[in-house]
């Protein structure tokens, strides 16, 4: 029975991957419906009841569309771009506990793994922007690289203070540590939460930080030249990355799968924990969408100012303060 | 245009260069005399007169309308026509003089010393508006369907001088609408009884078919019973009718005049080379109208030339290329030229240049004939083997005004003679004889209707068999019809409205043809094929436009140093000066 843990891992991996992939189309639909409601419109309501099959129709459309490779494009990188964008985001989900003990891999360096994996997405975007042989794509790719690298620093620094508080880089341990409501990191590290959440928007190229693909300036940014399922992959990657980031926010700051009090042991507790986690995840995703249809886009210099001159110093100050507080706390105890 | 007041410009006889202006100082015409092509009288005395207070000097006897027109003062008129005697019956050209109480008609007023004319007084404006109102009493409001609208003088003058509404409440007088002859309908309702057409038939064609019948309100132009408008100049009455009363059946409802693309060219119907304007729409010739050239056709053209344009897009038009055993719709000009040159060159090399014959025709432009000459030189064909086909003579017609339809139906006989040799037309029979006798082994025929002309040649018997026995036969034809042998190199050629080139008329005047229509299916022209043929023989550098070729051949026409542009719209007589 040496293979059974592996089998279990595979089943968990497939389940969670499938769940995330199923979530994406409905996230797209939710995005469209919510944006419509915010703008006093109706949104997609033709395909299926209440437009629920619209994502399916979109996927079918994308699959059957012609894939165009621009003349004099770098064919290898051009095909590699969408894959490199999608795969890391999907892999990152492996380390996130979606319920009590429900995790593909419980690794001791979970936080680092997720941060590393999501950072890899920048390669996909830069490759796509470079390989398209298009000035808009190239500018989009460049902006994206600069933006992700800038905000990665603020994000990492924010995380350090969280890690200092929890004393662990394992996501399962961080989750366990937030069982009680008052122990949620959002209360213990509110400034880190704001910095992390802001940086998460930037990492995901979401409004108000969607400069890499801002339609009014760069046509479509790095994916201007992409069509068919290659474009679909970028699209998918964007939403998967959004889910991963939301899951990270939930896990790190919003008490993970904990409803705020101790759950009963056994299967029931696990099921409730998954439900709680999902609820929190959806709430964060909704906030993502809500922000997108509320705030206008930052100017590029504003973006860089915010990242380097505000978030990074603030996060550093936060580390210092946290360090002092943690030291004093430990000494007191 | 020469300023009238400039002394010398008119007193020196015939100095105005012929391509300078279509209407140089107008002719003093004594009232009632038959009109002839006129030039400013050589010894007319210059007299001073006043036009709207401005002192001017013109030759005595100049028509007031013309004198004013040259000063930029347009006196409106209907019945006046520079090619006809003035009648003074439309009352539109009323002007005031200092020494008459009532206004006078400008068209019947020759300039005399001390005349003081006013053309823009308030009372004249009222008078013109009144004249127009009376003309419009019975004129139907059918401009939308009238073929004249757009070039109608009644429209123009009503717009400029008339009132914007009618006070007429009585029903309009209904007059006849009928077919009066060759190509003409009379729309009686539209007639304003200016009698231009009547005077044309009296003075120009001299046939007198048209007359004004009835009186007063009922008067209208008509023909006598059993004497329809049958003369070879009848089409001109449609052109000179200031309204839409005389309408051409040929042009009826064909196109609105403002859509027409107009190209100045010449008629190739006979050796006169009347100056015409080709009017096309959607690449189809809609009508041909005469263009004023004092030295050739004055304001007129004959019906034979006028209606002879259907062949341009006719069924018989040859549009295919046949050589190297293939019939094709499009080829590159290099291929066609090479096919032509190789066929002749092969025979010239194997049998000697004396076995090659070249037959042009009198329908070539000078440029095409010149290229044939160059081809003959390149193949070293002896002069006796270079000929030109001509069409048989027709009937010469001379009209009362002196307008002449030439008996010679070959438009460029003179030019071809000057370029291919004076005896080119005489050689043709000999060449055909040698074809029949087997003396010639290769023949190039470039003609618009070779099947007709070859059939008309002297003793055509045996010619068809003889052509079949030739080693090489190259035919450039406009219309297919003849059954040429299978190995014939057949190439299309272009019609008169597609050519760019020059021709010499029977008076030795060099005039230009301008392309008015695009060649159907963008076929190649003779000018391209022959240049490519010469190029493949190594005797030509690159394909040139007609203008460049003309530069080389101008000395042959007696016009050394004259450029294509200088030939102008009105052409140049031999010697280059009037």
């Amino acid at each position: 029975m040496t293979w059974s843990p592996i089998l279990l891992d595979v089943i968990r991996a497939v389940l969670i991957f499938a769940a995330v992939m199923t979530l994406v189309p409905f996230l797209v639909l939710a995005e469209r419906r919510i944006s419509a409601w915010i703008q006093n419109r109706v949104g997609p309501n033709r395909v299926g009841p209440m437009g629920t099959l619209q994502p399916l129709a979109d996927v079918i459309k994308l699959v059957f569309k012609e894939e165009i490779v621009p003349a004099r494009a770098d064919r290898v990188l051009y095909s590699l771009g969408p894959l490199l964008s999608f795969a890391p985001a999907a892999i990152a989900f492996a380390a996130i506990p979606v319920g009590r003990g429900l995790q593909v891999v419980d690794m001791s360096v979970g936080v680092l793994f997720v941060i590393t994996a999501t950072s890899l997405a920048v390669y996909g975007i830069s490759f796509g922007g470079w390989a398209s042989n298009n000035k808009f794509s190239l500018l989009g790719g460049l902006r994206s690289s600069a933006q992700i690298i800038s905000y990665e620093i603020a994000m990492g620094l924010a995380l350090i203070s969280v890690i200092m508080t929890t004393g662990s880089v394992s996501l399962s341990q961080i989750s366990e540590g937030q069982t009680s409501f008052l122990c949620w990191n959002i209360f213990r590290q509110p400034i880190a939460f704001v910095i992390f959440f802001t940086a998460a928007f930037a990492e995901n190229n979401r409004l108000p930080f969607d400069l890499p693909e801002c339609e009014s300036e760069l046509v479509g940014g790095y994916h201007t030249e992409y069509s068919g399922m290659k474009f679909g992959m970028y699209f998918l990657a964007e939403y998967v990355a959004m889910i991963v980031m939301s899951a990270m926010v939930v896990t790190l700051f919003l008490g993970a799968w904990s409803p705020g009090f101790a759950l009963p042991e056994g299967l029931l507790g696990t099921v409730i924990s998954v439900g709680v986690f999902s609820f929190k995840l959806f709430a964060v995703l909704f906030f993502y969408i809500w922000v997108r249809w509320t705030l206008p886009r930052f100017r590029y210099d504003q973006l860089m100012h915010l990242g380097w001159k505000s978030l990074v110093p603030l996060a550093m100050a936060n580390i210092v303060v946290t360090g002092i507080v943690v030291t004093i706390w430990d000494a007191v105890q | 245009m020469a300023e009238i007041s400039v002394k010398g410009a008119v007193s020196k006889p015939n100095v105005a260069s012929p391509h300078a202006a279509p209407q140089s100082p107008t002719p003093p015409v004594a009232y009632g005399e038959p009109t002839v092509p006129r030039k400013a009288s050589e010894n007319a005395e210059l007299v001073k007169f006043k036009l709207n207070g401005k002192e001017l000097e013109v030759p005595a006897g100049t028509n007031l309308i013309e004198a004013a027109r040259q000063q930029g003062v347009n006196i409106p008129y209907y019945c006046y026509h520079p090619g006809l005697t003035p009648a003074g019956n439309c009352r539109m050209c009323l002007v005031e003089t200092a020494n008459a109480k009532k206004p006078i008609t400008a068209c019947t007023t020759p300039i005399t010393r001390g005349l003081e004319i006013t053309t823009d007084s308030e009372s004249l404006k009222t008078a013109r508006a009144g004249v127009l109102e009376l003309m419009l009493v019975n004129h139907p409001l059918d401009c939308p369907i009238c073929d004249k609208s757009g070039e109608c003088m009644l429209q123009d003058h009503t717009f400029a001088h008339g009132k914007d509404r009618s006070r007429m409440v009585e029903p309009k007088e209904i007059k006849h609408t009928k077919d009066v002859g060759n190509d003409i309908f009379i729309w009686g309702n539209r007639c304003i009884v200016c009698t231009r057409c009547v005077r044309f038939c009296d003075e120009i064609s001299g046939t007198g078919e048209l007359c004004v019948v009835e009186r007063g309100d009922h008067s209208v132009v008509d023909v006598f019973p059993e004497y329809p408008l049958h003369n070879a100049l009848s089409g001109n009455v449609v052109d000179i009718c200031p309204v839409g009363a005389l309408i051409s059946k040929d042009f009826l409802y064909q196109a609105r005049v403002w859509f027409q693309k107009k190209t100045d060219s010449i008629c190739t119907g006979c050796s006169r080379g009347c100056n015409i304007e080709i009017q096309t729409k959607d690449n189809q010739i809609k009508r041909l109208v005469p263009r004023h050239n004092r030295d050739v056709n004055d304001y007129w053209m004959c019906d034979y030339g006028r209606y002879d344009h259907s062949h341009v897009l006719g069924e018989a038009r040859s549009l295919r290329y046949r050589f190297a055993g293939l019939t094709r719709e499009t080829v590159r000009s290099t291929e066609a030229g090479k096919a032509l040159a190789q066929a002749l060159q092969a025979v010239a090399q194997s049998r000697g240049p004396g076995a090659v014959g070249i037959l042009g025709s009198a329908f070539h432009t000078n440029e095409e004939a010149y290229l044939l000459r160059k081809l003959a030189e390149a193949l070293q064909v002896p002069a006796s083997n270079v000929g030109a086909l001509a069409r048989g003579a027709g009937k010469e017609q001379v009209f009362k005004s002196g307008f002449r339809i030439s008996a010679d139906k070959n438009p460029n006989r003179k030019g071809v003679e000057k370029i291919l040799g004076a005896d080119a037309f005489g050689n043709a029979a000999g060449i055909l004889d040698r074809v029949r006798s087997g003396g010639l082994k290769a023949l190039l025929v470039v003609s618009d209707r070779p099947h007709v002309i070859l059939g008309q040649g002297p003793g055509e018997d045996g010619l068809v068999e003889a052509l079949a026995s030739l080693e090489a036969l190259v035919v450039l034809e406009l219309e297919s019809g003849a059954k040429f042998p299978q190995q014939t190199v057949l190439l299309p050629s272009t019609a008169f409205s597609e050519k760019d080139g020059s021709m010499v008329n029977d008076a030795g005047r060099t005039q230009r043809l301008r392309p008015a229509t695009e060649r159907p299916r963008a076929i190649l022209g003779e000018i391209e094929i022959l240049q490519e043929a010469l190029r493949s023989l190594g005797k030509w550098d690159r394909t040139l436009p007609a203008a460049s070729i003309f530069k080389d051949l101008a000395p042959l026409l007696g016009l050394p140093g004259v450029t294509y542009h200088e030939v102008g719209k009105l052409g140049l007589p031999a010697g280059g000066n009037a």
Binding site: I38, T198, W290, Q302, L306, L314 | D142, P144, I145, W258
Partner: protein, 167 residues
């Protein structure tokens, strides 16, 4: 977003803080404005405060066509059911997009001289400006209120005389 940024110009600052009437520091934190915006969009989202959906569900609910709308063309008929058009080419002349093609012929009727043999409008070229209607001396062409101008082929969009008469 979390702290004051420095790119705002002084002029904008005075103006904006005067308008907002709050401390400069709080304004430059942006977060109050962000939350105000979020609250506003949330009101739209839940359709509170009188917000309502404006979308008209087109195929089921057609929007009323305003007076003077310029849709597809129609050739009018006279009392005898013949086309009113006399083929005067005025519409073709005035047409700025050159989409009208007319070939005239003699009318077979005693009371009329000319009629269109071919009357075609290339609806793909047409810009629906209505100049043809204005130019028509016989009131024979008009623009209808038909706006559903869908076809599946290009040739269908070249309307001939019959189509225009029955439009």
């Amino acid at each position: 977003m979390s702290q004051a940024t420095e790119e705002s110009t002084p002029a904008m600052n005075t103006q904006a803080s005067a308008r907002i009437g709050k401390s400069k520091w709080l304004f430059r934190l942006y977060l109050p404005a962000v939350f105000k915006g979020l609250f506003n969009t949330f009101l739209h989202l839940v359709k509170a405060k009188g917000h309502k959906t404006f979308t008209i569900q087109y195929p089921e609910v057609a929007r009323p066509v305003r007076k003077g709308y310029r849709g597809e063309h129609r050739l009018k008929k006279d009392a005898l059911g013949r086309e009113k058009c006399v083929a005067c080419f005025m519409c073709q002349t005035v047409c700025p997009s050159n989409c009208i093609r007319i070939v005239a012929e003699e009318a077979p009727w005693p009371d009329r001289d000319k009629r269109p043999k071919i009357f075609e409008i290339d609806m793909l070229r047409c810009i629906y400006c209505g100049m043809c209607e204005e130019a028509c001396p016989c009131d024979a062409i008009e623009l209808t209120e038909k706006f559903n101008v869908v076809s599946t082929t290009r040739t269908e969009k070249i309307y001939n005389k019959e189509k225009l008469l029955s439009n």
